[in-house]
Subunit: 205 residues, 2 copies
Amino acid sequence: MNAYSSRLLEQCVNELSRLPGIGRKTALRLALHMLRQDDVVVSNLTGAVAEMKEHIRYCKVCSNLSDEEICQICDNHRRDRAVICVVSDIRDIMAIENTAQYNGVYHVLNGIISPIDGIGPNDLNIDPLIERVNSGAVKEIIFALSGTIEGDTTSYYIYKKIREHRIPVSTIARGISVGDELEYADEVTLGRSIMNRQPYESGIE
Amino acid sequence: MNAYSSRLLEQCVNELSRLPGIGRKTALRLALHMLRQDDVVVSNLTGAVAEMKEHIRYCKVCSNLSDEEICQICDNHRRDRAVICVVSDIRDIMAIENTAQYNGVYHVLNGIISPIDGIGPNDLNIDPLIERVNSGAVKEIIFALSGTIEGDTTSYYIYKKIREHRIPVSTIARGISVGDELEYADEVTLGRSIMNRQPYESGIE
């Protein structure tokens, strides 16, 4: 499909089809849809994207997305800041928050250790987590990483670094089928797997 | 899914999920993808959308999308401007152009007559087509509308208005299965259906 009658349209389709999961046919459909919309609808969209891109920040404490220096969760006095749930991705925080079963705070690793993809511990947001634990204010760590070898490797790597503090370290119960992504688990299962978390040592020793 | 930690992110997801076929999970994925991209990649995207929305025009002759007052097809001296192919949608022009089997020009109706959807002849771009035929410069009309009752009704409505000029009026061959959209037909079938177009009268009288 290359017979665009307009260079402006073609350019727009080119840019839209760079997005993940958007092919050229879908991009064309989106572009033509936007042409049919009122100007203000489209400028709201481009404005929201530009504003987000320009002003969004990562929480200084947990690396969650935030509008301020400290995110709403870390900044909430009613949350138990002594309990840290370690996740690989920002979307996992949203999934856990939707269960309404967890009242601690989070730490986002921005990935998991995966030698095949060339991702080592130094590529992840692990050192700031160790520092949080070393500060002495943390009473419990919960790993909520995916149930894959990479997830287990990442948990174990961090566990070794914080073991000396002798604080309870647990991992969410494997109520979710192994290999599935947290993001797609239903809220009841995911909520229960946080309630039924298992002591970390029991699994490996 | 409503536990966005950032109002900026939430706003962006809200706007993206207004697009057709984009749900909130997909919108979130797109927003997070854009956050990971370089600023220039995202500003290219928003810029292309804004520029298209602001500067694109509809061809004064055929209503095709165009960067200029007259589209590239109507403005092309090598095309036979005495043959008009009537389509309901801009995407149908692209589909036919991709067959490289047609050397005439087009006329976009921007829809088809559909009483159920409340679309009558006056809601469509039909009068300018009649004017083009009345001008005397047109020697042939080809209907390339979908093979539905609505498509047939639209062809017949226009046919009645231009019949007096006694120019050949044809409709593309029904090589495409009835009820399918032109846009998804393969290029060979669609190209052949233009080559094998049937005189319009033979079908109705």
